[in-house]
Amino acid sequence: MMRGIWNRETVALILLAAALPVAATWLWEEGVTGGSRLLLAVIVGGLWQGLFTALRAQPPSAAGAVSALIIAMLAPQVGPLQFVLGISFGFVFGELVFGGWGRSVLSPAVVAIMFLGFGFPSAAWPVLAIQIGWATIPAALLLLAFGVLPWRVLAGALVVLVLAGGFSLDLLTSAVALALVFLVCDPATAASTSLGRWLHGALFGSLIVLFAASWDTASAQIAVSAALLASLSAPLLDEIAIALWRAVRRHRHG
């Protein structure tokens, strides 16, 4: 008779609220250019969501706005036509064809940014100001307080990054922090078992360490590439965790 509140859209609205301090900081830095990129990303993403709602009865999600913000912040600097193409590819093939937010394997932001990064390799990657890294801290705290952010993923990644960086935060650049909180710890695409989450976070951290040591490119590309590979392996990590859990349970209960 009574229904609770933790449906998909509540989670999406909390994600949106957590993204507000980051968005405000970024807009403060970027000004009108950033604002127009964000507006374009929101409009294109919203159009595709609306189209899928009309044609396939797939309810739209407020999480699309968060994805649009991350695309606007981290995508390489390409022309408007390429930008629209990248966003469309990210939203349609990253999320909507799988059934919308919550049913996809990858975040549309990761797909869109990687599409633009590999499709237009000469485009310059954005460099995020240090303040944006700081702004992810209240975002992460808010998400942790509501239990939306899987803390094991965050802890796994931070442990690896801090240990590999020799107990300094050099590896945790603004782009890495942003990708960690909004792309890797996205509750819809992160691993869902306890062990799987630790491994997921640790894998992201390890990939960052590996790329930082051997790949001479912008921090944003490193962060999103690591997020892509970590998200792609999340189902495998879950499968490993469940196989282990079943082995332990068979041993204990016969």
């Binding site: 008779m1 009574m2 229904r3 609770g4 509140i5 933790w6 449906n7 998909r8 859209e9 989670v11 709602t53 396939r56 009865a57 797939q58 309810p59 059934g99 919308g100 937010w101 919550g102 049913r103 509501f146 239990g147 939306v148 899987p150 509750p187 819809a188 992160a190 869902s192 078992t193 879950d238 965790a241 469940i242 859990w245 079943r246 349970r249 209960h253």
Partner: protein, 436 residues
């Protein structure tokens, strides 16, 4: 089996405190002593899982005494329903497929309860071997139907031997009564007798689940004490079975509430069935919270109407998360929840409603709330995903066979899921059962 008592303190430092609190209010103060309230009419509302095909043992307008067998299942003679109260049968309707449509008993004068022949079972418990007389007594007196066998949640077969029995001495449903309240007076001795009877029925351990308070019974041979937390869903039999002794098709596990164990003890000691059941009547639709001893199948309108707030109210048999609107107290229910109508769903605009109905259901996002709603024990999201896509094999491997609909009620509440996971789990269990 030698004496074994295993203690598990889950609540050390609150580290393993798992579960959720459902925000529902009830008028204070909470009563601590029950009042007796025998309603003028009593009915029978069996759950759909009972699947009783009725053969009446009495006629309309017959006089019955409390505890007398009145209905029997045609295919399974071990399933017997007894009269909840002494009086006259004023309603007895049998519908299609000989399923019971309604049974109503009007309370008459207080008479001596029906007396069963418990001597043979007592002798068997004292010295004999086997459990034939005990089974015959429990089946004849209708207490056999109080057992629920997992997997699948049916009444166990007459000759079945469970691998374990879980006795639920704790109840963590929102606004539920503390089951310890049924253990006052002679019931303290009867519960020991009942537990001894369960040990005899069962080929493995009898798990007594209780909260962190003092021990319900001193250490007994064959009885293992399991401590459960205070937060829902840790007090549900499903999660305790899942944790300590997972049910399999070839390893059935039964569960029974402690009040029914007391009833078994009372039947063995006095040869009659208890006349009342402890029921908590609570919820935001009441002016005062009540704790009553009423007959099984009591009339919920009569229990509530003098104490309801003015205006429209909804009376649920069961808790706010797994109860259903009903006229009579449900067969396994020990609580009544009264909601005021503002808690029921508001009227939706027709366009909004049509759009929602037409759209595909939204998926569940793996938040901490979902994890806690499953007790934090299992790869919960994997189980929920297996249930939503109808992957019975995966659900079975993730432990769905230990669970029943009531165990999914908290997830349904927390996520407002549609379709409900309770229904998905029942459909999955039915398919697994049919394909065996």
């Amino acid at each position: 089996m030698g004496p074994e008592v295993v203690r598990e303190d889950c609540a050390i430092l609150g580290l393993r405190k798992r579960g959720l609190t459902v925000p529902i209010r009830t008028p204070l103060p909470l009563p601590t002593t029950p009042e007796t309230h025998i309603t003028a009419e009593a009915g029978l509302s069996l759950g759909p899982q009972m699947d009783l095909r009725v053969e009446p043992l009495v006629q309309l307008d017959d006089m019955v005494v409390q505890g007398q067998p009145i209905l029997r299942d045609r295919r399974r003679p071990e399933c017997i329903v007894t009269a909840p109260v002494s009086g006259r049968i004023i309603g007895l309707e049998i519908g299609a497929g000989r399923r019971l449509t309604s049974l109503v008993v009007a309370t008459g004068d207080r008479l001596e309860p029906h007396i069963y022949d418990a001597q043979q079972a007592r002798d068997e418990m004292a010295g004999g071997s086997g459990s034939d007389a005990l089974r015959a007594l429990l089946q004849g007196a209708g207490l056999w139907m109080r057992f629920r066998s997992r997997p699948f949640g049916r009444v166990p077969a007459a000759v079945a031997r469970p691998a374990a029995i879980f006795v639920m001495g704790a109840d963590t449903r929102p606004l539920a009564a503390d089951p310890r309240l049924v253990l006052d007076g002679e019931a303290g001795d009867w519960v020991k007798l009942g537990l001894a009877a369960l040990v005899r029925l069962c080929s493995g351990p009898v798990h007594l689940c209780q909260n962190s308070g003092p021990d319900i019974v001193p250490s007994m041979a064959g009885v293992t004490v399991s401590r459960v937390g205070d937060l829902h869903p840790s007090g549900l039999a499903g999660f305790q079975i899942y944790r300590h002794y997972p049910a399999e098709p070839d390893r059935p596990v039964w569960d029974i509430s402690i009040e029914d164990v007391v009833a078994i003890g009372e039947l063995l000691a006095t040869a009659s069935l208890p006349a009342t059941r402890l029921v908590s009547v609570a919820g935001p639709g009441l002016r005062e919270t009540r704790l009553v001893r009423c007959q099984p199948g009591a009339d919920l309108r009569e229990l509530c109407y003098k104490h309801s707030k003015p205006g429209q109210t909804v009376i649920l048999s069961g808790s706010v998360i797994d109860g259903a609107p009903s006229r009579w107290l449900g067969y396994h229910d020990r609580q009544v929840t009264v909601l005021d109508s503002s808690n029921s769903r508001p009227q939706q605009h027709w366009l909004d409603a049509a759009l929602r109905r037409a759209s595909r259901p939204e998926p569940i996002i793996a938040t901490a709330a979902v994890e806690q709603a499953l007790g934090g024990l299992m790869p919960g999201m994997a189980l929920l995903r297996a249930l939503s896509v109808g992957d019975d094999e995966a659900a079975q491997e993730l432990g769905a066979l230990s669970l029943l609909e009531e165990d999914m009620a908290l997830v349904d509440y927390v996520t407002a899921a549609s379709p409900r996971f309770s229904d998905l789990l029942r459909a999955s269990l039915d398919r697994i059962e049919a394909n065996r």
